[in-house]
Structures are given as C-alpha cells and as structure tokens.
C-alpha cells in the first residue's frame, strides 16, 4: 500500500518574544520537535496526546495553516512546501477537515445549504447552481440529515446535527484525506457512537484516509488502524492499534492507559501512574523529555534523548529502557 501522506523530520518552533530564558537565550516553543510518520491509503492514523503534545500543531501544518520550521510533508508524492497555485487549489480539494467544536466551525450567519456547498463553490466554481444544490442535497442525505435543513441556520440545529453538517462539508466532492480534530469529544455521550459509526461507514464507502487527533484513547482505539502517542512535541510510541494497546511499552503510554477511567468498578490501578505536571514545550528538560515524570527514570535518561526504534515492524518506541 502506498502512503498518501508522508511526514519526515517535521519541526515547528514558535519564537516567544517575551523575557529571555534561563541562559539569556530567547525563548522558543518547540511545538513539534522532529516527528516522522506516514499514512497509507484507506487507513486511519491517529495522534494521541494531552495538551502541549503538539498534535494540533501537526494538523495545522498538514492543513497548510502554518509553515514548518523544518522537515518535509509529502502528499501523493508532492512536496507541500513547494506547491504551485494550481497545486494548492487541488490540495485543498483533496484534504479536508472536521474540527472539534461543531458550533464554532459553522458560520452563524450562513444557511446550512451555503455552508455545505462552500467547498464546491470555491474549488469547483464551474459547476452550475443546480448541480451544486444537487450535490449538497445528496451529501446531507449521506450523513443522515433531511435536505430540509438546507434552509436552516446553525443555531437551529442540535449538537449532533451540527457535527453532521460539518462532516457533510468535509466530504462533499470526495476528498481523499480528512483530518478529524477531536471529532466527538464535544458531543453528548449518547450521540458519540452515532457519529463514530457514521465516520466509519463513510470511510468505507468513499475509500477515505483519516488522520485523527484525539486525547481519548478508547475512541481512538475504536476508529484508528495505527496510533502515535505524542508527548511535548515528539512521538514516543507508535504502532498498530491492537498491538500498542495490548502491549504498551513506553511509560507514558502505560500511564495514559492506566489513568483513563474505565467503567469497571473495582479496577485496580497502578499506584500513582505519573508524578508532577505536564511539562512545557518552552522549557524542555535535558535528555528524555518525559524523564521528570517517569517512575522508571534512570540517570541515563537525563543525559540522552531516546530515539524512536522498532521493536517489531509495526511497533516503535523511544525509551532507553526498552530493548529493541
């Protein structure tokens, strides 16, 4: 299978102009600090992590909302850093997004019909109005909404309906990749399953490739084929979902899994899985960036930063203590 999206050694640093850091150097927020991964056509790849992990920045880089400080992003073999104007328009039609807050991602002053039709009007301006309407109707039905909502405004719809509209907008005119940023975390629990099933159905029917960002491992486990766990800008563990959850190797992954509340009364948890607070990408510790919170930390962890290495072809870990 070929990779649709290939990210290599991606870096994104944000300079922070305020007071100088510890050694009198200007402070830099190392949001993404060197990551590499690729997504194969038709699969779902997820980046999981807590706040400050950098996963949102990765999504923004892929969506060309930010320029990388270094590294390469290849889409269908084309380098995203050197796209012609034609290429850009084509890229925009191929790679779409669904954001977390459905209400915020829909313009409150636009009718549903215009919201869903917007990608067509921008990227396929040659289509006549009737054609656009037809496609819009088709798409709304596809996501389980009645075409009657076309004349409504976002505030007249429920949360679940709004997210369906956002999904319709993302899928209209068949893109090839869809970036899903926390697609269900802002929804009521009883509707999450509906949307997750819908996303799975659509993926199958349209042959889409998904890139998902989330913090809820249970949801990710359900919808993604491969997962990368991020911490402070780096991927610390990556692999096939089943394998990763069956045998988590990195202490952070283990901590995340242990910290996740499970609806199983009486579950015995690892004694404090983590200490301290999530670090800051402004002030990274020396060596392994996770060592200040790691219960298995050794002196060596403070010196050298671990590199992502394979334990088997589908599982990679960045930890000094894991034999690869």
């Amino acid at each position: 299978m070929e990779s649709v999206l290939k990210i290599t050694n991606l870096f994104k640093y944000f300079p922070r102009s305020s007071k100088a850091g510890v050694r009198g150097q200007p402070r830099v927020l190392k949001a993404v600090d060197g990551i590499t991964f690729s997504i194969e056509r038709g699969t779902s790849f997820a980046l999981a992590g807590e706040s400050g992990s950098g996963k949102t920045t990765v999504a923004r880089l892929i969506l060309l909302l930010e320029k990388p400080t270094n590294g390469s992003l290849l889409f269908e073999g084309k380098d995203l850093g050197s796209l012609t104007r034609q290429d850009r328009i084509w890229y925009r039609s191929q790679v779409r997004a669904v954001f977390q807050d459905a209400a915020g991602s829909l313009n409150p002053r636009m009718r549903i019909r215009d919201i869903v039709a917007e990608p067509v009007e921008i990227q396929h301006a040659e289509l006549p109005r009737q054609g656009v309407n037809a496609k819009t109707e088709e798409m709304l039905r596809f996501v389980g909404l009645s075409p009657e909502v076309m004349k409504n405004y976002p505030h007249e719809l429920s949360g679940g309906q709004k997210q369906r509209v956002a999904i319709a907008r993302a899928m209209i005119m068949n893109p090839s990749v869809v970036i899903l940023d926390e697609p269900v975390s802002a929804l009521d629990v009883s509707i999450r399953a509906q949307i997750l099933n819908l996303l799975a159905d659509i993926q199958e029917q349209l042959g889409l490739t998904y890139f998902i960002i989330a913090h809820d491992l249970a949801t990710l486990c359900h919808v993604s084929t491969r997962i990368g766990i991020m911490y402070l800008g780096k991927i610390v563990e990556m692999g096939d979902t089943d394998e990763l959850f069956r045998e988590p190797l990195h202490p952070y992954t283990r901590a995340l899994l242990s910290a996740m509340p499970q609806p199983e009364p009486g579950r015995v948890k690892q004694r404090p899985s983590l200490s301290g607070e999530i670090g800051s990408a402004l002030d990274l510790p020396g060596g392994c960036r996770f060592h200040p919170r790691c219960i298995q930390a050794e002196p060596g962890c403070r010196e050298m930063e671990p590199v992502l290495k394979e334990t088997n072809p589908v599982h990679l870990v960045a930890c000094h203590k894991v034999k690869t």
């Binding site: 629990v189 399953a193 995340l256």
Partner: protein
Amino acid sequence: MLLSVEGLKTYCYTKGGVVKAVDGVTFSVNRGEALGIVGESGCGKSMTCSSIVRLVPQPAARIVGGRILFEGEDLIAKDESAMRQIRGNKISMILQDPLMSLNPVYTIGNQVAETFKVHGRRSSRTSITREVVDVLRRVNIPSPEQRLKDYPFQFSGGMRQRTVAAMAIAGEPKLLIADEPTTSLDVTVQDQFLRLLKQMQDQSGMALILVTHDLGIVAETCDRVAVMYAGKIVESGDLQGVFASPAHPYTEALFSALPRLGQRGKRLFQIKGEPPHLLHLPDGCAFWPRCHKVLDRCREDYPPMISIHEGRRAACWRLKGGEA
C-alpha cells in the same frame, strides 16, 4: 443521612415556555459517602447542584417544589443569610472550569486567604497565611509557600483546579459538590485530581456528590450512582449493582454505546435520536423515542420509580412485575 433531596423541582421560565430543568428529583447522600450523578447535557444535573446550594439564577429559574433536607433542616425554607452561613462552611461546590472560578487579578494566596476571612476566622495575618499554606499542601500543591504570590495564569490547569478545591474545603464542609470538575483537564491530570478527591474524603470524612457524564469516573470514585435524563432520575443504586446489571434501558444503552479498548472495527451500539429539548418533551416516558425496549405503555404514562431491591430503583415500565 446527611442530605436528603425529596421531589426537588426547579423550573426555568424562558421566552419559549417553562423548562422543567429538575422535575421531581429524589436522592440522598450519607456521611462520608460519594454519590455520582451521571447524565448528559440538559439532563438537569447541574441545576440540581445549584438548587442544593440555592444558587439558582433567579428570576429566570426558581425552585418551585420539594425539600432539601441537610442535617435534618430544609434548605429551601432558609433565608439568604442562613444559606450564606451554610455555603462554604457546611456545603461547598467546585465547578467545571477552574479558570472561570478564579479571579485573574488576585494572587492565589490572596484568594485562598479570602475564603478563610469570609468564614469569619478572625485571626492575624500570619496565622491565616499559615492556614492557606496548609490547605494548599493538603491538595498536593508543591512548595505552597513559594506560590502564594503567583497569579492564576501562572498555574497549570490541574493546579488551578486543586486551588479551587482548596478554597472549597477551607471551611471544612461536610458535603462537597463537584460539578464536572475534571472535564477541562487532561486525562493524567484528571486522574491525579480524582485521587485527590478521594484523599480529601478519607482525611475529613466529608461526603461527595460528583456530577459527570463519564461513567468511568463514576466507577472509580463513587459508592453510589444516580442516572439522570430530561430532568428526572431514571435509575439509582449502589455502584456495583448498577454497573453489573443496569435496570433502565438508558443506562444500559449508555454502557453499550461506550467505545472500549480492544474492540476495534466493531460497530458501536448506537442510541438512536438525540437528547430531547426540554421544551418539547414527548408524552409518557421521556426516553421512549430512543428506547430499544419500548412498550406501548411507555408512550402514554411516565413510569414511577420502582424499587428493585435494597437501595436500587429505576423508573421503567418493564420493571413493573410481569410486564417484561
């Protein structure tokens, strides 16, 4: 029994009509125990909490019926100055967003000290400072003496929430109400905070009402649970019982619809429809349009609370002897 809520009714008077946010809710909390109230947005769980401390946003919303017996006395019958004595001292509350709960222009030390002063501790400045440091240490804030001059924005989300918790227990309350206290926190930070709540309970014997939409959190923190839907409690009982064999179809559906680890690729059980708009509740049982076990009777009459056995109750016609 520390708190006994009987038939509580809190209605909101809006332009569109009367919203029965809390419509005849009955439950109790014993000393030292942790009760979880589970439900989605709009089910009335937050309004129930506001009603207990009598901080319902008037005049739009009002408590219109029922009794709230705290240590034998009806809180609804009390006037505002009596309630002011109770709030913070006997019953305390933490809300979802710690950034909103803290005033950005005062230091942490100042705000925590304020809680002590408000509770009428007429002591010298040094002894209040000592108490502030003490309570901050109790909520596991590292080096509290050095953090008194920090402002809320300098604290991480987890530390802010812990500060709010410190302010809540400053008055040594007998009951702490926590309304979605970890929703805005990362999962590892959430884990720490929930452990803190348990620790606080162990240390002081205080009772806890934990309001959440997350069944996993309830499983790990609570002794008993009440499930709310559309302003009413639909099921309640001891934790083990409810989780092992939920009696109400809504509870059952919630469990089934949860994405779990290790279930990749399988289609999730989905609850059809959406949570109801409180202005347009159906006749009969509020859940019937979405219920996978609906009977004819459900469409006409609202089921009464039926006792299953010791302590466990649920409002479902299927439980009425012989109707299954």
